[in-house]
Symmetry: C2
Subunit: 585 residues, 2 copies
């Protein structure tokens, strides 16, 4: 067995903790993380007495079941992966070829297997049988076999003979540089049949036909390796499955483990959560339970108290929650980023209460550069500086991580992937077979050409490094606009460490009509005033996890992802004007 | 109001029936359909006494509720659509623009509205609320508005500056002609911002960003017009929504109208049905009820009798079925095609029993040319020759039609659309918002460039005309191979009139071990023998709608879509050999 290089090993452990060496662990070393100091509670999140108390320390958690330490994050390097590919030789994966992550993973010898989650599966998920026609594809490996099986059209009838991308050449990713000096990347219909000519392992004849619901072997290899570069799970039997973005993935995951009607399941999430996620859960009858947040996001002590004190009778017969949905980095809408200590604490609460963790990380790579700090010079430094993922600390296999190309390549790809234990991935695939049959072949072959074949892992990571600097600039422009145009006497905010969103708290109590006008009424008044002044912001109430309890404050979410710098300033100026008018300032 | 040209008006009515003129109907004329004579019952489908009796005539249907006549099919022409587009001017539909079919439809003045289906919706579907963030997009129309609303990335960060297709130029669609004389079709990032230069109404900056779950306005216009060319519904308020192919659409439709657990809903379908459709229904607890078939597919008299005699107590508390799933043309797996008379009869049974009809038509355009008949010379003749759709006779709005680009352009597009009443389309969109957010932008912009901008409706219909002739050739090659290599003494078959599949009946009773070996055992023996001889066929039992009743016969499905002519012959030879060996012939 080859020994993977393990980096960032002692991250998050107290200085006195000895390194928890595992079987087969070699080359353990401590790399000082290039991370930001954990900010104090920002003061713009609600801080009820319950919350403040819970915040104080995670040592207050009940100690009934001791939680073993989370092992160090483990990462392979780009050199490891290059070597592995060279050894494996050319990837031959024709139309609808079966694949899984194990075909592309590095060694996992000596690692334990993930726990089983049968008791969490819904009846719907447990009932899923493999797709008979997809299963029949296993016979296609038989040498000389002629298939009259699946109704796969002949690629002769695909009316596109080639598709040529014009793309940036690293390291200059700008639009102007791409126009002047980018490269053409053609994708032919039968490239993979002519390895000597083009060398490509994927082509239109494969990508544009039916495939397995997992996604193509070509893209599966790429995302498997990418997961290993960021930090693979510490158990052996993890897998991946391509998704129709995290939107589609979340719906599939909820149907897999949450039965809102029969079992009266609930879902834990941040008190303010991505509105579309809430809209996904609601029609399934899944009861959403919001957990208080502070400047670092969800507060683990509050989560623990909710679970410890859960009483089904008091909760209308609702079962104790067994699933947490969380956006750990640049949370939508609050922009909060959980530190590694926070993640560990939340993970430990999840272990104690047998809770699965759905880690939704569209903004993971949009972790910002702090003012006055030096940007990472190398890909390795960049990776070191990222907050470790839940996945990388998941000793049990209880995390389902959702990654997406939407925020970091293009939303229109409608493509992402999940990483989780083989058991959960298998159930997920069974659903994907009847829900979508995997992402668009156009999306797959285009992203493969760009990310795998042309850029490679190094180029893609450099793209992400470039992108986070762009978003850092945008965040700073918005922060300056807020400083310049918002009335500080009623509005408070903190520039986020990651993501696309600036969360703004407006002090409701200082409103001249606070005693007679509710929070939602004032929110609506300001929102409408904004529209008439020519700025669209998102209302904080759209993101309230529990619409059945009174709002805890008056908030707005503003994105710095889309508008030009000039427009961003003008928009914030208009927002400030709307607030001033409402508050009669 | 412009009067649409109505064609094929009297199709399917007895000669003595007067034309049922509707308000606003002008230019009614009878065009002799270029269709095939309805074949007699082919003899290879099961013909139980119940079935034979029901077959005799549809006049035996109970007459409790008189069913009004179905109005004539109505079609617009390509000239109508060109004129309409010219009047409307350039389509300006920027990022995430809201759209619906009404924006692109021809006049529907004087037509009734569809019926309401609230009583058929599931609780899940009824509970769906609009996506708050997508709804906010309506404000984007406000002139001068700056959006800090949705987290849409700036297209500056899309790492593809252009995408160039190489595509066939009609009328020669062959691969060799395309390589020699096809055309390049570039798609730039900002084409739509420079109308004077390129003239394109769609580009990468729009397609690769987030969009509405309906799909883009650009593709919505194309499919809306396409529906009108084939035959729009006879009610006013129909709509469309792009889908992740019919796979994804069916799952969404089932969740919209079938509650297998709470309401104990059932689904009617052909006795042999698409296995993936069955696998979609099963985990939802939806009970599938197979309806006997003959050479023209599902037998309406049997369907009527099942519904008339439905007894909830006898059926384990299962509610009387209110949804029919049918593949009317080139049915999968039997290859059967319902004649227009058959469709009318089934539709009337559906009306009588308040049944919604899910019309799954992936093979609709693969209707074959019969030997000795002349191929249509014009697009109009081609359209005339197609069997009318359920949609075109749907006076109530009870049909949900699923179309797909998978079989006629590329499966990898993972794109199709539904057409149905506005009420059902609206509920479907609400689900799409959280299930997928519409098809891949790559798929949309590429198919738009090809089908709409380069080929136009005329070119696309010519492509379909070409494709059906290709499939006709393939069907004939397989038919000849069957004649040459299959033992007629035990195997019977009839070349299909549409689709991709040859259905083969093997007479179980003639098997030397028929008295001791079950149908499924013999099927397995022959299947395994086929694999060892190097041919993969699909087992008939995979497609049995009801696995809980004994199999009615021994069948295999062979596709003529994929293999080369030589391989197809060799594969059928191997299949013949496997059958002969099992039957000791």
């Amino acid at each position: 067995m080859r020994s993977p290089v393990r980096t960032g090993a002692l991250r998050g452990l107290p200085p006195s903790t000895p390194a928890p060496l595992q079987a087969g662990t070699k080359g353990l070393r401590d790399c000082a993380p290039r991370r930001l100091p954990v900010p104090p509670s920002s003061g713009f999140h609600s801080t009820s007495p319950e919350c403040s108390e819970a915040l104080a320390t995670t040592a207050k958690l009940p100690e009934a079941e001791p939680v073993p330490p989370v092992p160090p994050r483990e990462r392979f390097t780009i050199a490891d992966i290059k070597e592995r590919r060279a050894k494996a030789g050319r990837l031959v994966a024709p139309t609808a070829a079966y694949c899984d992550a194990d075909m592309f993973k590095g060694p996992t010898t000596g690692k334990p297997k993930a726990k089983r989650w049968d008791h969490h599966l819904t009846t719907e998920s447990a009932l899923r049988a493999p797709c008979k026609l997809k299963q029949a594809a296993k016979h296609l490996k038989t040498p000389g076999l002629i298939s009259l099986g699946g109704g796969l059209p002949c690629p002769e009838y695909f009316p596109i003979s080639s598709l040529t991308l014009h793309i940036p050449t690293p390291p200059d990713f700008s639009e102007t540089a791409t126009l002047a000096a980018g490269e053409d990347a053609p994708i032919g219909k039968y490239d993979a049949s002519f390895p000597s000519l083009e060398g490509s392992e994927y082509d239109l004849s494969i990508a544009l036909n039916y495939g397995q619901a997992t996604g193509s072997a070509q893209m599966t290899r790429f995302v498997t390796e990418h997961v290993e570069l960021i930090g693979a799970p510490p158990y052996a039997d993890w897998g991946v499955c391509l998704t129709i973005g995290s939107t589609g993935a979340l719906e599939q995951i909820l149907r897999m483990v949450c039965d809102g009607v029969g079992r009266k399941d609930s879902l834990l999430t941040e008190e303010f959560s991505f509105s579309t996620a809430l809209e996904t859960a609601a029609p399934l009858g899944v009861n959403v339970v919001g957990v208080k947040m502070d400047g670092e996001g969800l507060v683990p002590g509050v989560m623990d108290r909710i679970l410890t004190g859960w009483d089904e009778r008091e909760r209308g017969g609702r079962r104790k929650p067994h699933v947490l949905y969380t956006v750990p980095s640049g949370q939508n809408p609050t922009g909060a980023t959980q530190s590694v200590e926070r993640r560990r604490a939340i993970y430990e609460v999840a272990r104690r209460h047998d809770v699965l963790v759905v880690e939704d990380e569209p903004y993971y790579y949009l972790q910002m550069q702090e003012p006055g700090t030096e940007a990472p010079g190398s890909v390795e430094e960049f990776l070191e500086g990222l907050v470790p993922t839940y996945l990388s600390m998941d000793v049990d296999g209880r995390v389902v991580r959702m990654d997406s190309f939407s925020k970091v390549v293009v939303p229109g790809s409608r493509m992402g992937w999940i990483t989780a234990s083989a058991q959960l991935v298998e159930r997920f695939i069974r659903h994907a077979e009847v829900a979508n049959q995997g992402p668009s072949g156009f999306s797959q072959v285009i992203l493969h050409k760009l990310l795998d074949e042309r850029w490679g892992h190094e180029g893609y990571l450099r793209w992400l490094m470039n992108l986070r600097m762009e978003y850092t600039k945008r965040r700073d422009i918005m922060a300056a606009a807020c400083e310049d145009f918002l009335p500080r006497e009623v509005v408070s905010w903190k520039p986020p460490q990651a993501g696309m969103f600036q969360w703004l708290k407006v002090n409701h109590e200082l409103h001249p009509y606070a005693s007679t006008k509710g929070i939602l009424d004032i929110e609506e008044e300001i929102f409408n005033s904004c529209i008439s002044k020519g700025v669209l912001v998102a209302r904080g109430s759209w993101f309230r996890a529990q619409q059945d309890i009174p709002p805890s404050g008056l908030y707005f979410r503003a994105t710095f992802a889309a508008a030009t710098p000039e427009n961003m300033r003008e928009a914030i100026r208009r927002l400030g004007e709307a607030i001033r008018e409402s508050y009669q300032l």
